[in-house]
């Protein structure tokens, strides 16, 4: 298409206005399509006002001129509709602009405030935008910069000094955040983190947007972030392997879409004076479809009464500068804030400290502690100390703190102080929601938010800052909002777009503030607690955590629950307070806490390294303290931390993997007739013995794909068409690449609607993804053909048919009889394998019982033994002194209990039986592993929980994805261990 064709009635000027999620851009072209004016301004959600300001400036520069006009941009759509002005879709506007200015470009990547777009120009024009679930945009970079307490520009500068990058989940901003936060807390170099953030954005674009199409040739980069951020540009150029001449960053990259929009305006017939435009835009009434809740408080007295009621839950206060005697120190090194308290023997609060830790808890605490030591009364003696939270291990190692305590236990201790009969605690911090039920004086069940809805507390903060408010001020605004917006209860990325829409529909900042508070509560109640009525939670509810200091959030919670709850006045300090109580409880007289003198000399350095303990090659971060001693983080097992593996119980996850891998080495034919490649992925983790044996018996050499690592994922990343499929499926793409590079003659990967019937379920399906993934691979990997990729449809329960189909495929190599015999040998090997799993499971149970250790059934799917999928969770469990066995090792020991679900997937049905078995074993607990995006587990988790809880067992669920940080899992597991001890 050629836009530059001369029009018969060409306008002297044309105006394009690009209204994005965060900025407004205006561009004027002359009749030769030359850019004569452009402006760029952040709108802080005051869209109409900002446009009006810009238009007035244009009126000043071009008095009396009327323009043809077009509006574009994500926030421009509704505006153009209601102002009755022409609209052009923004990706299309970019397309028009590229055709005009860079007709030889092959692809365009544009990152905006909240959108990411890609246009392929050659080899079939294709234009794509990010789906509704995606981070990796300007807003994400802003959010990450906020997390590091720098501006986006500073982040950029830092990234240029990076030495290495850490893998950071790239699918969703929230995931990435939960990867970054712990890195910060563990003292990783901020420069490296900055570079890792940009790399995550690049990965997101390559995997999420390109979806299987290669980005190559001349690539044009557009949008605000890409014109500001050098580090981001470099990361793109490097990852896409672009020659310098092929990576084009137009000078006007940030107004480029507005330019395309102005080009489109040139084709419009109607012209408008600036006054008319201002009038139309200012007067644009949006259709009022904001869903509003009633105000939180209707009048001041109502609010006063509310405040008074909550003020009654307070502690006694004293002064550390005058107090004499024993005192106890508690620290809560949370994800975004650090808290420290000192209490006296009668539990008077002597000292409190609360700060956002800017990602450096160790620095914060050394400063606070020095200040405390300097001012405290000489007679005050610290007799014990304890630390909890993300930074627990680092602080404990660095500052000689006596005890570490699990967050959940710390919160429980603090809550019982205010309400001894407490039976439900809910804590909303910066990044976590933690809820737990208390039964018989012990934590009974724990509910944590999954990675996808985390970031709730800090979300309000980031949002407040984006709108130019301080958090306290922002929260206050919401209290008397007239029409709090209903923003739904999904993850923050979704909330972002809900907020956008509400603003467009005329909601005020106050309405949005109140709406966000409501969302946090709805998230907690519907997503985390999943409660239907307040009675389910308990009679005595204590809420705490910094987020509940926000009265609007508290009010929303009481309203949603329909009852009054207790919010202690020190709501934000509860973790630290609980830790101090714990220190007092455990006090043995002397504290090992670093003293004032040593503190003055205290310093540390941090350094990155890769662990060589095993094949996992964990990324280690080594912090060395000046006074000697070091702290290593990032390791999954004890090995990396330099601890010798003694007393570590054998672990069926590792054993099962070894057993599968042994089929790669054993009994290969001496003179093979051909080489077959079998991917170590999905159902092969269940059936490998069958197929490896089958092919070897026929005389094939069998090659497995490599053992999964993050690298495997990257290898296949560019052929993944659906960015929301589960991680085990995504990894499969890398395994195919691995086999192709090994030069196998063909890959054998059958499609199977059904798996082997184990006779204990209503049907015996595989899940749709496991069943048909080969079809998807074939359609998305150009290197695969019907010659090198064989994917017959098989039903293993019908052996005659299997032999028949296999003969069709391999008749050239072997007779039908030989194939039938090889298949029988395969099934025999599979039976033997299964029997061995069961036997080794029994052996582990026996040895654990002999050693008096509890046993955990880590219940997942067969492919969860892949170390890149489970991220070493089994090792973490083992390091807590528990033996680990698999669901399939005990499934056969019980029958399926009565279910409220259609039990038709075999892998999942094993979990029901394993859960049933666990209920009969006093020293066993079950932990369910769930892969993010596994829709079937939305059904099984509720059932497994019910089976366990009805018989008095604890239910623990660990949700895993590409995130390889085990922080949240650790809290859960340690809480479980604490609950088992109780």
């Amino acid at each position: 298409m050629n836009i530059s064709r001369t029009h018969s009635h060409k306008h002297p000027y044309a105006l394009g206005i690009d209204v994005g999620s965060t900025t407004v851009k205006a561009v004027i072209l002359d009749q030769n399509n030359q850019l004569v004016y452009s402006s760029y301004q952040r709108h802080f959600s005051k869209v109409r006002e900002t446009i009006a300001t810009q238009l007035q400036q244009i009126a000043g520069a071009y008095p009396g001129i009327s323009f043809p006009v077009c509006i574009t941009g994500s926030a421009g759509l509704g505006l153009a509709n209601s102002a009755k002005l022409p609209f052009v879709q923004e990706v299309h506007a970019a397309f028009v602009a590229v055709n005009q200015r860079y007709p030889d470009a092959d692809a365009v990547i544009e990152l905006g405030g909240e959108d990411a777009k890609i246009i392929f120009l050659t080899g079939g024009v294709e234009q794509r935008m990010n789906g509704t679930c995606a981070g990796g945009t300007g807003a994400f970079i802003d959010q990450m910069a906020t997390l590091l307490n720098v501006t986006a520009d500073q982040l950029d500068e830092m990234s240029l000094k990076a030495e290495k990058t850490y893998p950071i989940a790239s699918r969703c901003g929230v995931f990435a955040k939960s990867d970054i936060q712990p890195l910060l807390n563990q003292g990783a170099r901020r420069e490296d983190i900055a570079a890792s953030i940009f790399q995550a954005v690049v990965d997101q674009t390559v995997s999420g947007l390109a979806q299987g199409r290669t980005i190559e040739g001349k690539v044009l980069f557009l949008g605000g972030p890409l014109s500001f951020l050098e580090g981001l540009r470099r990361a793109f150029v490097k990852t896409l392997h672009l020659d310098p001449g092929n990576a084009v960053f137009p000078e006007d990259g940030r107004t480029f879409v507005a330019y395309g929009c102005a080009l489109s305006a040139m084709n419009q017939n109607e012209v408008y004076s600036i006054d008319t435009l201002i009038e139309k835009i200012s007067g644009a009434v949006s259709e009022n479809n904001v869903l509003a809740d009633p105000p939180l408080f209707s009048y001041q007295e109502e609010y006063d009464r509310f405040r008074e009621r909550h003020a009654s839950h307070d502690v006694k206060r004293g002064d550390y500068r005058t107090y004499e005697g024993k005192a106890f120190l508690g620290i809560d090194a949370g994800s975004t804030t650090t808290k420290m308290v000192v209490i006296s023997e009668d539990r008077t609060l002597l000292y409190e400290y609360y700060t956002t830790n800017k990602g450096q808890p160790l620095d914060c605490i050394t400063v606070a502690l020095a200040d405390f030591y300097a001012k405290k009364s000489p007679g005050l003696v610290i007799a014990g100390s304890a630390v909890t939270g993300y930074g627990e291990e680092l602080l404990k190692a660095g500052l000689g703190i006596d005890h570490g305590i699990v967050e959940t236990v710390a919160h429980f201790k603090a809550a019982s102080f205010f309400c001894p009969e407490v039976d439900f605690i809910m804590d909303i911090g910066g990044q976590d929601i933690k809820c737990f039920k208390i039964k018989n004086g012990a934590i009974d069940s724990i509910m944590l938010n999954e990675a996808c809805s985390s970031g709730c507390g800090s979300f309000i903060q980031t949002f407040a800052m984006a709108l130019g408010y301080d958090i306290a001020e922002f929260a206050q605004l919401g209290l008397f909002a007239e029409r709090p917006v209903d923003l739904g209860s999904r993850c923050t990325v979704f909330m972002n777009s809900s907020v956008k829409q509400a603003q467009k529909d005329g909601a005020t900042v106050a309405d949005i503030s109140a709406g966000l508070s409501g969302s946090i509560i709805k998230n907690a109640v519907y997503k985390v607690i999943r409660a239907r009525s307040p009675e389910e939670l308990g009679q005595h509810i204590v809420v705490q955590g910094g987020t509940f200091l926000n009265d609007a959030v508290l009010r929303c919670f009481e309203r949603e629950m329909g009852r009054d709850v207790i919010r202690p006045a020190i709501s934000g300090l509860m973790g630290a307070f609980g830790a101090a109580l714990y220190a007092q409880e455990k006090c043995s007289g002397e504290s090992t806490l670093i003293d004032a003198e040593a503190l003055k000399q205290f310093s540390y350095t941090s350094q990155a390294a890769a662990c060589k303990g095993c094949t996992a090659h964990c990324s280690l971060n080594i912090v060395r303290f000046a006074g000697g001693g070091r702290f290593i983080s990032g390791n999954r097992c004890e090995r990396g931390a330099g601890i010798q593996p003694k007393d570590i119980l054998p672990n069926l996850y590792d054993r099962k993997l070894e057993m599968i891998l042994s089929y790669d080495q054993n009994e290969q034919p001496l003179s093979p007739i051909a080489t077959v490649g079998l991917p170590l992925a999905l159902h092969y983790y269940d059936q490998m013995p069958l197929w490896a044996t089958f092919f070897k018996k026929l005389g094939f050499q069998v090659k497995f794909s490599e053992s999964s690592t993050r690298e495997t994922y990257y290898k296949g990343q560019s052929t993944i068409p659906s960015d929301t499929v589960c991680y085990p499926a995504k990894l499969t793409h890398g395994h195919i690449e691995s086999l192709l590079s090994q030069g196998v003659d063909f890959i054998f990967y059958p499609c199977m609607s059904y798996t082997l019937d184990e006779g204990e379920s209503d049907n015996h399906f595989n899940c749709p993804v496991v069943a048909y993934y080969p079809e998807l691979l074939m359609a998305n990997n150009e290197k695969l053909s019907c010659k090198n990729f064989l994917y017959p449809f098989l039903d293993l329960n019908r052996r005659k048919h299997v032999v028949h189909v296999l003969h069709e495929y391999f008749g050239a190599y072997a007779s039908k009889k030989a194939i039938a015999a090889a298949l029988e040998a395969g099934f025999a090997a599979l039976d033997k394998h299964r029997a061995q799993i069961a036997a080794e499971g029994q052996e582990i149970i026996r040895s654990a019982r002999a050693a008096g250790k509890p046993i955990i059934v880590l219940a997942g799917r067969p492919y969860h033994i892949d170390p890149e999928i489970n991220h070493g969770i089994h090792k973490l469990i083992a390091s807590l002194g528990m033996a680990v066995i698999t669901e399939d090792s005990v499934a056969a020991l019980a029958h399926t209990p009565k279910l409220n679900a259609l039990n038709q997937w075999v892998y999942h049905s094993r979990m029901y039986r394993a859960a049933e078995y666990v209920t009969t074993q006093p020293d066993m607990q079950l932990i369910q592993l769930v892969s993010f995006g596994c829709g079937i587990d939305a059904i099984t988790t509720d059932e497994v929980r019910r089976i366990l809880e009805e018989k008095g067992k604890l239910y623990t669920q660990l949700k895993i994805d590409e995130i390889n940080n085990l922080g949240a899992a650790k809290i859960r597991l340690r809480s479980l261990a604490a609950a088992m001890d109780a």
């Binding site: 299309h92 509704t132 929301t724 899940c767």
Partner: protein
């Protein structure tokens, strides 16, 4: 867990609530059920409470259709409009490897906790669950088939007239008039004269004064509930008409043919024969003949675009994906993309619930193959979910439409 069963005496006393997936079809089907002694009522609520009840009552990661259907039921039960002692719920159950076969359990779980006396009836053809009071007898089934056929015809013609009608509401009037006539025919007889009825329908729609301006035709395919239900897809058909397009929604009969064909396919793939494969093969032949008859009538009349032959769909599937991919809407989604692109409807919206498992394979997973085969295919996949905002969805559809308009100009 024990749950209330729908018994024979309940036919007299109970109102059976039905979620509305396809407004035109379901009205007809309900009138047929009424003649067989079932008092049914369509749930039409689209209020925000539906989503809220859904969020409260089912697992948050459950797919959107389940959430809406359960939400709609719970809202109705709590509204006070229906006496829980005289109300039952009807839900479909396909029995495939997709999690949709579990909706009934999700529903029953929350109904049991709050309204234990309310029976939940499974409507399935896979022999999964039976209620003594609810029986799909042969005469009932036969009439339902006719209901689906006429519903498809009305929907298909309605979508071809509505964007072009000169007097707003004309097409709807024809639909309404036919709904009434058909209800009467189902009660009093005459409904079997398909050809005659089709022709009359075609003439009635052809008589509507319409503009001759050619509009861009956009195919809506995808997961069955989201594809059809205006509640789930944010009134997608209306939006497209507003955008000056003509929506094309494939017929419900196709889904039924798909289910029947799969049984036959599986028999062939896995080499077995049983009563079920035979029954489904006969059913397929009968229904397919009915489809061909409808297509012929439309083609003979000449004024309207006819739906594609289901056998063409199967043939198209074979080029890209095995018909053994049979969970959810399975291969049919891939085939529909291909056939639409082949027959000139290159602009396609593929609707799906966020995180839909089969669609990873058959929709997003096959888009590339389709795009390679039909470079002009202009496909956008839209996810539906309680958190996805309409503005986001519409912006993506607008991008697809901008491409469509550009292609149309060339």
């Amino acid at each position: 867990m024990a749950y209330a069963e729908f018994t024979v005496p309940m036919r007299k006393t109970h109102t059976i609530l039905v979620p509305n997936m396809l407004p035109i079809h379901f009205r007809l089907l309900i009138s047929i059920f009424k003649q067989f002694g079932y008092n049914m009522k369509l749930l039409e609520s689209t209020s925000r409470t539906v989503v809220e009840e859904g969020l409260k009552n089912v697992h948050n990661d459950t797919c959107y259709p389940a959430l809406l259907v359960v939400g709609q039921f719970m809202e109705a039960l709590k509204s006070g409009e229906y006496d829980p002692d005289r109300t039952a719920l009807l839900i479909t159950q396909t029995g495939g490897g997709c999690r949709a076969s579990n909706y009934i359990h999700l529903l029953r779980r929350c109904v049991n906790q709050q309204f234990p006396q309310v029976p939940v009836i499974s409507l399935n053809f896979a022999g999964l669950e039976k209620s003594s009071g609810f029986q799909l007898t042969a005469p009932l089934l036969l009439k339902l088939v006719y209901g689906v056929l006429y519903g498809d015809m009305l929907m298909f013609l309605h979508n071809q007239c509505r964007p072009y009608e000169l007097n707003k509401g004309d097409s709807q009037k024809v639909v309404d008039a036919w709904q009434e006539r058909l209800e009467k025919m189902f009660a009093e007889g005459g409904y079997r004269s398909t050809k005659k009825i089709y022709r009359e329908m075609l003439e009635d729609f052809a008589a509507i004064p319409r503009s001759k301006k050619k509009k861009i035709r956009v195919g809506i395919i995808g997961e069955i509930y989201v594809k059809y239900s205006p509640l789930a897809n944010n009134q997608l058909e209306d939006f497209l008409i507003q955008e000056d397009c003509e929506p094309l929604v494939p017929m419900l009969l196709e889904f039924i043919l798909y289910c029947a064909a799969n049984s036959d396919t599986n028999g062939k793939l896995y080499q077995y024969h049983d009563l079920k494969t035979t029954a489904f093969r006969i059913g397929y032949k009968y229904l397919h003949a009915k489809q061909l008859e409808m297509i012929r009538c439309i083609e003979e009349h000449g004024e309207f675009h006819a739906p594609h032959d289901f056998d063409d769909l199967r043939a198209a599937a074979d080029k890209y994906i095995c018909q053994g991919v049979s969970m959810g809407e399975g291969w049919m989604i891939t085939a529909e993309m291909a056939v639409l692109a082949e027959t000139g409807t290159e602009n396609i919206i593929c609707t799906q619930p966020f995180g839909c498992l089969p669609n990873h394979i058959v929709a997003k997973g096959m888009a590339r193959a389709i795009k390679n085969a039909y470079p002009n295919a202009n496909i956008v996949a839209i996810d539906y979910d309680p958190g996805a905002t309409r503005v986001n969805q519409e912006n993506r559809i607008k991008l697809m439409l901008a491409n469509a308009k550009m292609a149309a100009k060339q």
